[in-house]
Amino acid sequence: MMVKEVLFGKTLEELKQVAKDLGFPGFVAKQLADWLYKKKVTGIDEMLNISKKNRDILKEKYDLGLSAYNKVQESIDGTKKYLFKTISDQYIEAAYIPSENRNTLCVSSQVGCKMGCLFCMTGKQGFQKNLSAGEILNQMVSIDENDKLTNLVYMGMGEPMDNLDEVLKSLEIITSEWGFAWSPRRINVSTIGVVPAMRRFIEESECHLAISMHSPLNDQRKELMPIENVYPIEDVIQTLREYDFGRQRRISFEYIMFEGVNDSKEHALEIAKLINGLHSRVNLIKFHPIPNSPLKGSSNEVMERFKNVLENKGIITTIRKSRGEDIYAACGLLSTKKLVENKSNKDY
C-alpha cells in the first residue's frame, strides 16, 4: 500500500508546492493552511471551498496526518499526561498543566533522547526518532483542552535543538498569521545548550529560550550532562551574550536542585558570577527521584535559601511549583520506556 504524505505540519511554502505539484491554482495553498491551522478540520472532505474534484486528487496522495491520543492520565492537581502513538508506531507524551492564569502544554520534540542526562527518565529509553513538525503540532491540537491553551513549552521528551528543522517549522506554523497566529512570547523552547543549533534558534525564532544549567561548575556538569564535554556552560552563556534579546524575549536558566550536589551557597554564587549582567532569570526545580538514580531532591528550605542568595545578587529567581508528580508527568519524568520494544541488534 502506498504510504500517503501528511498535510498537517506543512508550512505555507510547502503547501504552495503541494498545490503546484497537483496542478491546483496557487491560492489553494492559503485555503489549505486555513483549513489545517485555523478551522482545524479533521478530514480533507471538510475543506469545502476546495472543489470536490481537487479534494479527491488531494486524498489520493495525502492524509491529513492528525492522530488522537491513545491514553490520558489526570493528576490530583489537574495536570494531565497524554500518550500519543506517532505515525511510525512509537510513543510520546505531552503534559497539560492548567493553572490560575495560564494553561500550558509541554510537548515532546523527539521519541526518546540522545543526550543521556543523568537525572532524566527520557534518556533511559534511548533515542528512537525525531518528530516531524506535524507530530509536534498534533500534540497541541489533539488534546481535549486544545482550545484552552495559552502557553506552550518544548520541554517534554527530546532535545529540541537536536531536531531543530522540525521544531522551527512547527514554530513557524504556530506563530504565522496563516497558521495558529500565536505570539512567540507564549512559547518557551528549552535546550541543554547545543551551541550551533541554539544560535540558529535565536536568530530564526522569536520564542523564549530556556537553558538547562543544573550546575555552574564544568566538572560537575559533565557528570550530570555529557553535553558539557562538547559545549561547556560558559560557552553557552558567552553565546547568549552576543545577542540582544530586547525586553520582551525571555532567557531563563533551568536548575534542578540535587541534595548535596549542586545546592550549596557556593553554587548559587557561581551562577551569579556566570550570568552576571545577562538579562535573564533562574527557575529552580525540585528533583523528582527516578528509578536507580543516585540523586535526591533538595529540601524546600534549601531551595528557599538558594533562591535568596541569587536574589540578593539581583537575579530574578523563581521556584517552579511541582506539577503532575503522581502521574509521572513532572519535569524529567516523561518516558515511554515500557512501551519501547527491546531491540535485538545491540552492539554492546
Binding site: 540522545k114 543526550m115 543521556g116 550551533p196 536568530e203 557528570e223 555529557p226 562538547v230 545491540k346 552492539d347
Partner: protein, 220 residues
C-alpha cells in the same frame, strides 16, 4: 544579521581508508594542536552545518584523523566517502573536554565510540586498567591490533552476534552485571551511542560506583 557559525578552516584530505565494510578513517592535513579526547566540527563545505567527530589520531602524527561510519540516509557521510587526496574539507579547531587525567581508569566504548581511545593510546597518555569494547560482529573491533598490542589482557572485546575464542560472547552489560565488585576509586570513561552510555552508566551506578567517577561522551 548573518548567522554566526563555528569557524571552519579548509584542510586538504590526505587519505581516506576503508577500515571495514561501512567504517572509514579520513585523514587530513594537520593545522592545530589538540588534546586526546577532543572533537572537531567537520563539513564538506563552508555552507552546510558541520557534524562533530572525535579525533582518532595521535598527537605525534602529522595528520588529523577521524573515524566514521556511513549513515544510511545521512547527509555528510555518503559525501565523505567520495573524497580523494587533495580535496578540501572544512574543520574547526579541536575542542571538547572528554579528557582523562592521570587517575586509574576503565574505558568503555561501542562502534566508532572507540575513536577518542584510539587517539589516547596513540598519543601515549596513561593507559586504562581495562578497555571494554562492544561490537555486533568480529570485524568491527576497530583498531583491535593497536589495543591488543598496547593493552594485552586489559583489552576486553564483547561480541553480540558472532563467536570467537578470543572475545567474550554476548553483551558487555551482561558481563558487568556478573562482576561481584567494580573498582570504586577509579574513573570510568564511556563513549558511544547514547543507549549504551545510559545503560552502562545505570548499571555501574547500581554496582556502587559514584556518579562523580563516570565521564560520558555521547555521539549525537
Amino acid at each position: 544579521m548573518p548567522r554566526k557559525k563555528i569557524e571552519l578552516f579548509p584542510h586538504k584530505v590526505v587519505r581516506l581508508t576503508n577500515v571495514v565494510s561501512e567504517v572509514f578513517t579520513l585523514s587530513m592535513e594537520r593545522k592545530f594542536d589538540f588534546v586526546p579526547g577532543q572533537v572537531v566540527a567537520l563539513a564538506i563545505n563552508n555552507e552546510h552545518d558541520p557534524r562533530l567527530y572525535s579525533i582518532a589520531s595521535g598527537t605525534g602524527e602529522d595528520v588529523l584523523t577521524i573515524l566514521f561510519d556511513i549513515i544510511d540516509g545521512g547527509f555528510l557521510t555518503p559525501q565523505l566517502v567520495q573524497l580523494k587526496p587533495g580535496d578540501e574539507v572544512y574543520i574547526s579547531e579541536p575542542f571538547g573536554k572528554f579528557i582523562p587525567g592521570d587517575e586509574d581508569m576503565w574505558w568503555l566504548a561501542t562502534g566508532t565510540g572507540i575513536a577518542p581511545f584510539i587517539s589516547m593510546v596513540k598519543s601515549g597518555i596513561k593507559l586504562p586498567e581495562k578497555l571494554i569494547h562492544g561490537s555486533r560482529t568480529l570485524d568491527h573491533f576497530l583498531f583491535q591490533e593497536l589495543f591488543h598490542d598496547k593493552l594485552g589482557e586489559k583489552y576486553l572485546r564483547f561480541c553480540t552476534a558472532e563467536e570467537s575464542p578470543e572475545v567474550y560472547s554476548g553483551r558487555m552489560t551482561e558481563w558487568l552485571k556478573e562482576q561481584s565488585g567494580l573498582p570504586k576509586e577509579i574513573k570510568y570513561y564511556l563513549c558511544g551511542n547514547p543507549n549504551m552510555v545510559v545503560e552502562v552508566r545505570d548499571l555501574i551506578l547500581s554496582k556502587g560506583v559514584d556518579f562523580n567517577n563516570i565521564m560520558a561522551e555521547i555521539y549525537f
